[in-house]
Amino acid sequence: MQDKLKANVAKHERLEQFNAIVSEYEAALLRYAARLLGNSSAAEDVVQEAFIKLYRRWEGTLEPSAGLSAWLYRVVHNQAVDYIKKESRRSDAHQRHIEEHAVMSAPSRPGANRSADETRLNVRDALEKLPLRERELVVLKIFENKSYKEISEITGLTTGYVGNILHHAMKRLTEILKDTGAL
């Protein structure tokens, strides 16, 4: 009886810790996934799966830490790769993507915000033209402001290789943005 009570208390505590972790990381992970996938609703699915995996597989204490953060980003990346593979297998994927994109890209407000929306659209399009690995590094470095060391922990790449890929990605992004007239 007492063992069962203890188990229930432990489960309740773990659930509370888990909720705190969700609140701590959800915004950053949603932003990261949305930029990788270019699709907010897919990003939500991917992040949701990452949190379920965290609860089931994370063996240590559920407390915010560099290790836990790197683990979450890695899972989101893997889930995003799976999502992209699954989507590319579907025959109507391209059409749906265009439709979703049209909805997401539609200027929501007229006037002054229009140019900000256009810039965002140009940047999103440019990012989508990069290979996934390059896009991932640009998002982690430029938007999430992670250090090379943190990126290395998330991606499993050496810091030297991170620098190398990022260099080429930024060069390519500059070219794309220049071509579209955003720069």
Binding site: I52, V138, F143, Y148, H167, L173
Partner: protein, 147 residues
């Protein structure tokens, strides 16, 4: 000391410097290499132009950092799904593998139905078979006594 750095910076080729530019802007270079890049940029107009372009790209990307269309938190529906998945792992597994679960259920149902049908047929045919056997037995017995 400053002159040494200036000489070293001058000796570095433009290609070497351009390789370092992104790390320079993102503050990932150590102090010494940052000084070399800065010194080179001061003197080389071409590299300065490349650096300006790269800096503009970084600024442009960062200006779009706060996208109002991006969700800031998970929806209530997602939270509910997470909670359901962690509280009922078996049900969650079944709903994720619903095709497999449905196939197994259909196979089991067909097997059970097949077994039941066979059982019904045996029960239906059995009294007739027994009757025939009894009659045969009686005929044999009669023939035996007649002999």
């Amino acid at each position: 000391m400053i002159n040494d750095k200036a000489k070293a910076a001058h000796r570095l080729k433009c290609d070497d410097i351009r390789e370092l530019l992104i790390e320079y802007f993102l503050r990932e270079l150590g102090q010494n290499r940052s000084d070399l890049v800065r010194e080179h940029l001061r003197k080389c107009e071409d590299c300065r132009a490349t650096a300006a372009e790269l800096s503009d790209t970084v600024d442009l990307l960062r200006s779009t950092m706060h996208d109002p269309e991006e969700p800031q938190r998970l929806s209530d529906e997602s939270r509910r799904r997470i909670l359901h998945a962690i509280s009922h792992p078996l049900l969650d597994w079944m709903s994720r593998h619903h095709t497999l679960v449905s196939t197994v259920v259909v196979i089991i149902t067909l097997l059970v139905a097949g077994l039941l049908l066979r059982d019904i047929r045996i029960r239906r045919d059995l009294p007739e078979a027994i009757e025939v056997e009894v009659l045969k037995e009686a005929v044999i017995t009669d023939e035996y006594y007649e002999e």
